[in-house]
Symmetry: C2
Subunit: 491 residues, 2 copies
Amino acid sequence: MNAFQKLVEHSNKVSNFRHLSSIVGWDQAAVMPSGGAEARSNAMAELEVHIHSLMTQPHLGDLFAQAEAQTLSASEQAVLREMKREWQQANLLPESLVHAQSLAGSKCEHAWRSQRGNNDWDGFEKNWAEVVKLSQEEAQIRAEATETTPYDAMLDIYEPGTTSAALDTLFADVKTWLPSLIDEAIEKQKHNNILLPSGHYPTDKQKALGLEVMKLLQFNFEHGRLDESVHPFCGGVSTDVRITTRYDENEFVQSLMGIVHETGHARYEQGLPQSLAGTPAGEARSMGIHEAQSLFFEMQLGRSEAFVDHLARLAANHFQGAEFEQENLSKIYTHVNKGFIRVDADELTYPAHVILRYEIERDLMNGAIKHTDVPELWNEKMKAYLGLSTEGNYKNGCLQDIHWTDGSFGYFPSYTLGAMYASQFMAAMKQTVDVDAAIRSGDLSPVFTWLADNIWSKGSLLTTDELVSKATGEVLNAKHFKAHLENRYLG
Amino acid sequence: MNAFQKLVEHSNKVSNFRHLSSIVGWDQAAVMPSGGAEARSNAMAELEVHIHSLMTQPHLGDLFAQAEAQTLSASEQAVLREMKREWQQANLLPESLVHAQSLAGSKCEHAWRSQRGNNDWDGFEKNWAEVVKLSQEEAQIRAEATETTPYDAMLDIYEPGTTSAALDTLFADVKTWLPSLIDEAIEKQKHNNILLPSGHYPTDKQKALGLEVMKLLQFNFEHGRLDESVHPFCGGVSTDVRITTRYDENEFVQSLMGIVHETGHARYEQGLPQSLAGTPAGEARSMGIHEAQSLFFEMQLGRSEAFVDHLARLAANHFQGAEFEQENLSKIYTHVNKGFIRVDADELTYPAHVILRYEIERDLMNGAIKHTDVPELWNEKMKAYLGLSTEGNYKNGCLQDIHWTDGSFGYFPSYTLGAMYASQFMAAMKQTVDVDAAIRSGDLSPVFTWLADNIWSKGSLLTTDELVSKATGEVLNAKHFKAHLENRYLG
């Protein structure tokens, strides 16, 4: 067995343990009774330690050196590139830093859960100082290893190859047209009459409807399930994808569209190249490309009139009421509103929330601002982008998200990158596929074939730029995103 | 950290990985979609290899030698004794034998799944020859290491400390009175009028009823769940016990009593000493003692008139019909019938099925008979014990069980040992607890307190003989079992 084969075998082993981690993680979120939590945490921590020890075995360095001298096919080269990337990431940080981050992150996140409700910035700030300091150390170490800026090194964890230079350009573009587009959309919708859900929508009926929508979206039930959890997510493994949702019996629109969103994530996972399973080249390309699938399903397909027509028709199997008519549902699903909270934001205002966070976390990691500057910067940017003041309103301002509490700096851009990729994929797809006709026919196969051929089946064989260029003929830009939003909200 | 402490730490680590194994095992049986099977098998096999490698680390031998020279408390001595027992078991067999057994067992079991239906003894025998041969090798190695007979060495896997000499005595006793007791019971019941379930019993109602019965039995839902699987079982971990059942919408008695049975297993697990969690001394004592809990719940409590009264009352919340009246339910649950199939057998004929298997597997492991002798021996013993011929009827004879197909010789006695222990526990309990009054009151706490104090909380701190003697004042004997059966079936 040569060095490359040994590395693949090692990767398969790691992948097997990650499989276990994913399944018990799903179990913890979806079905575990509360009393099982402590023993489960211990078991999961033991597993993570074991995976880390596998990833940092000393002999791997030699194997990578040997494998890089081998003659490999293009696909083998991609496998090697991704295995090496993972190995470098796992070996970059000293154990002492990882341990300190884990402690500081847990403490800060735990306290945040009550501090947020109490609007307690001062209490939060005391714990957060350590989290930020340690993340800056992490960013510094990563930056030195990869010869880039601290923030770009953090961004690289989630979006390999994406730089803040590229994001600055993309987001500068968005900022030139987004605020006015939001105002125009709100003005246009101001006389809309919307019938909001006000009935009782039993969980079992909502679930039955959700399953029908998943069928329409060709979710493969031989390789996955729908369950419930407090925070909806897509987990499991690519041969057994577990999506979850949360039902509110006073409401149905959020859970229903949540299922469409998670089904997008799930179909990406189900469509990954099984021939590369067990290696990182067989995994999803990046957080942004993953979010591009869920947002393609939710925003490009899900909120289109043609798709809402299906939702209305399927809903009629379980519910009756004027709120389920397509025209009303479409109005609900495209309603624009300037709000404080990112997770409640509509498609149009969402990028403003992301750009604000991006600019702050970039400057924080690069040392251009202090963590105590964040509330004031938040307030300034909210006023500039959405006309809302968050002065003294921390709970609906900089305390609203979980991401920064444990040091996950560099993640936020993925949301808006995903929305942009999704728009660009749709524009490219429409050059060869009559998407609207496919949706209306109820057989969306042509849509999914395009995604499977161009995105899902590629795994991480290509870099993100290569993937997007091959699929759409151009690198990522904001043009298609703008056109999509203008068409939907002003068209 | 001294040697004993190091061994406990090592045991905790192994226990964490077993936790993962139990949860993904439950997942596989209860919720995994079929397409996830292959990747799951690989992940689980990887985990088993890892657990085995932990159990066979070379430095453990020295640690055990050092720990045995330490001054330890009684409870620490028990922990050490059980850790050493596990370690010895794991290190006894050469890898090559374990691997050959795994292959031969999988092949034989897989083929058996269709051979049984086809009554294909000849086909089965070809694969089984290898399984038996390898099990005999295993038994020989175990026997040499523990200075006992081959069969006793196999029995020791499931029932530490139990010998075939003891079983021969117990079962000889049972054989003197069981056949006539069966005949008398059948004679007594011959004019019974039983209303069998014949309606439609929806799954959701059966489940709701099952949950109410679990509450009555004080199952702790903070530390466990009820789910569905093809083959009902009790899995998970002691802080998170997963029981399953299978619903048949044409029937309810089997699933309902199945839930009572599994709840017995579950309460044992939930009642194990958490202070010893992570070490084998905190685990269940043996298969027989485990089965004693499930059979205490099912046979001693569950089929008593007082308990069936509760079942009838709880059933009335969900179902109506004369089949649910206590008197009829009691007749169903104590109906005696001589049949071919062990898993369908009633309480009274069940021991005959077990003794038959015990005698055959004992002689097979000890080399007194050949595997090709089994069908004829089966036929002879079935005629002697239950008056039924299985000549040529392999599918309802020696091909009916899964246990022997993969070499699990030594397990069968646990079923009847469990039934005997359960009777003996009940007799002892009744000396201080008014069991019937407790059941009738609907608050069974005194019953569970006795079991918790005398059995559950002891884990594996005591040997089985010590445990039973302390709890009941005498070693295991068939007297209480006989009295219980005579009282129920002739009383």
